[in-house]
């Protein structure tokens, strides 16, 4: 069945179809429609979930952690300041190996207050142990929520599904809503092996002396590594059942004979796709690599896509102050170990922070700058800064 949905409601439908059992959430612009829809679904009895109207995001994540530990499929959605207030508990959720799924609407951090998009909120959760999926359309959002539970429950790590504030959260698009019966087959009821059980009393999260801590963190990293194949497998199964695939961790678009590859994520990727088509029509050999997953980092996919191309241009709607664009730095780092003659120069562009629009013109500007120069002169090339 097709419905015209805003990105935020695609999240709610994804959670509904995944039959989440406990929702704990707190309102924040531009996430509110996600939770309003879910509380409406609960009030109307469409979704049999316990909805906890908590008093902060910190409590939202704490409640999700405890609910999941008690054996229920838990869900929350937030954005920006809400996500960063959860930071402590994000480490906790992953460290406790709980397959929680959360949607985060990418919104800039204050000060000054901004409700508009960039990725610094979620990318600064990089080292918490959550998988991260950056989405480009409402359809991808809905499908990714369902995929996320399947992945999370196999590798026992939590997953964050990301969508750009307003450009995606508030844009209406036709979305195919999969059949509940099929989703139930794809995503069976959660059977969490390590749950709180009155008949088998265990203590969770006890003091962990140095003899044990390192091993548990080693296992977390192994789970992240294992997630790579699980993601690809889940995406394939999804394709078989629902006819849609997102390429697993990344999507290569018209990169076959490309001399210049543009790397983008989220809605900037869909604009880039259009510009790539235009430039191809104009006879230029350009392609795009869409970064769908950021964690686990698609190391092999990035190498495969970029090895031997003449130039790479990365668009970052984020920044690690004192270093550079976060996707760009990680891409440079994984290319370091390939043969020097196959290693392309990587141009790092920062654009669109705080919701400044990344238009086709912005992307053309980035591409023509990349074509003009042999090598990047600076670590960061800023686009559109009024100086």
């Amino acid at each position: 069945m097709k419905k015209i949905l805003m990105g935020n409601h695609a999240v709610s439908y994804g959670a509904l179809l995944s039959r989440v059992e406990v929702i704990a959430a707190y309102p924040i612009t531009p996430q509110t429609q996600v939770v309003e829809k879910l509380s409406e679904m609960c009030a109307q009895g469409k979704l049999k979930a316990r909805y906890i109207n908590v008093e902060s995001e910190h409590s939202a994540m704490a409640a999700c952690i405890a609910a999941e530990q008690a054996g229920a499929r838990a869900f929350t959605a937030t954005s920006s300041h809400g996500l960063t207030l959860m930071h402590e508990l994000l480490h906790w959720a992953a460290g406790a190996r709980l397959p929680i799924v959360m949607a985060n609407i990418n919104r800039s951090m204050a000060p000054g207050w901004s409700i508009w998009t960039d990725q610094n909120d979620s990318l600064s959760q990089r080292d918490t142990g959550w998988l991260q999926i950056y989405c480009e359309s409402s359809q991808e959002v809905l499908d990714s929520i369902i995929q996320a539970y399947k992945i999370a429950e196999q590798v026992l790590l939590p997953v964050m599904v990301l969508l750009d504030a307003f450009f995606l959260s508030h844009t209406y698009e036709p979305v195919d809503i999969p059949d509940q019966g099929l989703v139930d087959q794809f995503l069976p009821k959660l059977d969490y092996a390590y749950k709180i059980d009155i008949k088998d009393p265990c203590s969770f999260g006890s003091l962990l002396p140095p003899e044990y801590y390192l091993e548990l963190r080693y296992k977390m990293q192994k789970a992240m590594e294992e997630a790579h194949d699980v993601i690809i497998q889940v995406d394939k199964e999804y394709q078989q059942m629902f006819g849609r695939s997102y390429g697993g961790l990344v999507e290569e678009y018209r990169t076959e004979d490309a001399e210049l590859v543009l790397v983008a994520s989220s809605t900037a990727a869909s604009t880039s796709r259009m510009v790539v088509d235009q430039l191809r029509d104009e006879g230029m050999k350009v392609g795009m690599l869409k970064m769908r997953f950021f964690r686990p980092f698609p190391t092999q996919e990035v190498i495969n896509a970029l090895k031997g191309v003449k130039k790479v241009a990365v668009i970052d709607r984020n920044i690690s102050y004192g270093q550079g664009g976060i996707f760009c730095e990680e891409i440079r780092s994984v290319l370091y170990n390939i043969d020097q003659h196959e290693r392309p120069p990587v141009f790092g562009y920062i654009a669109g922070l705080g919701g400044r629009d990344i238009t086709p013109t912005t992307i053309r500007e980035i591409l023509s700058h990349t074509l003009k120069e042999d090598k990047p002169k600076e670590n960061i090339i800023w686009i559109g800064v009024k100086r």
């Binding site: 509110t32 509380s39 300041h81």
Partner: protein, 302 residues
């Protein structure tokens, strides 16, 4: 009144708030700020978390305030106000008043930890909560200040708010702070007198202002003052103060024979209520008012 005779107002003329702010028409929040600043004067620093006032203050490079305004994260008002106070103290500025100015969500819910911490330390700050009884800035979600029976987007009419409004004043009183009071914009003299009194006291002071919000209360713009007045007359929001955590004084008594229904009927957020619901609310209001009266009597003996 004689023609030609200038209308004399007893409200001070000095203004530390400008016109051109961007609140919705009929919003009580800017009116409350304006009166408070008139009472506080220019040596005031405002600390404001995420709330409608973040917007009302105006986007960069504008400000609707003529005093310094420090924006702060949603849950941090009282901690941030404590920080500003500490710097003024260390720099020897005893004259400037530091005011934390937050909505009900920022006070009753996400900010209550920082608030309790600050007032327990008896920080030398005034904390003013303008209470529109929901998260208005994010589009009318319930808070723990939402009254029983009210509609919000997270308490839909089929399942309206089913818990009583949190009694924030009693929570503050339990911290035994020097001064706690309630106010509304329908009684500006009472409001300003309380703010002035608070300004003259050292330590933690808390003022709770009922702040009607026409879109959130589903009420016509021009009814803000009327709703504020009826809230007091019906006794659903009594005007009183508590000194030193024990001396209760009602500053504007409720009016006999004004049923709470008159207040509720102005607002479509209560439109789904049945006559028996009105009875429940009336009983609760009467009971709470009786309790308040008893406290004022008890504090006379204390």
């Amino acid at each position: 009144m004689d023609r030609g005779q200038a209308l004399k107002t007893t409200i001070p003329e000095e203004d530390y708030m400008t016109s051109g702010h961007i609140a919705c028409p009929g919003c009580a929040a800017p009116i409350a700020m304006r009166y408070c600043l008139k009472a506080l004067g220019e040596k005031t620093i405002m600390v404001v978390p995420a709330c409608c006032w973040t917007i009302i203050a105006g986007p960069f490079p504008y400000s609707s305030l003529k005093v310094p305004l420090l924006h702060t994260a949603f849950e941090t008002t009282a901690a941030a106000a404590s920080g500003v106070r500490a710097t003024l103290d260390i720099k020897g500025d005893a004259e400037t008043t530091v005011v934390g100015w937050a909505g009900d969500g920022g006070t009753f819910d996400i900010g209550i930890q920082a608030l309790s911490g600050a007032v327990e330390r008896n920080e030398n700050i005034i904390y003013i909560c303008y209470d529109n009884e929901a998260y208005m800035n994010t589009g009318i979600q319930r808070s723990s200040a939402t009254p029983w029976g009210a509609w919000t987007t997270t308490t839909p009419a089929e399942r309206p708010e089913d818990k009583p409004k949190k009694d924030i004043i009693e929570i503050l009183v339990a911290h035994q702070i020097p001064y706690t009071a309630t106010a509304t914009v329908a009684y500006p003299h009472d409001l300003m007198a309380k703010v002035k009194k608070a300004k003259g006291i050292k330590g933690s002071r808390f003022i709770h202002i009922l702040s009607p919000c026409p879109p959130g209360w589903r009420m016509s713009d021009e009814l803000t003052i009327k709703a504020s007045r009826l809230a007091v007359q019906t006794g659903i929001f009594p005007l009183y103060e508590v000194e030193k955590g024990r001396k209760y004084t009602i500053t504007v008594p409720r009016k006999q024979g004004v049923p709470v229904a008159e207040y509720l009927k102005l607002q479509r957020r209560f439109a789904h209520l049945k006559p028996e619901d009105y009875d429940i609310i009336q009983k609760n209001v009467d009971r709470a008012y009786e309790r308040l009266l008893r406290k004022t009597k008890q504090s006379e003996i204390l």
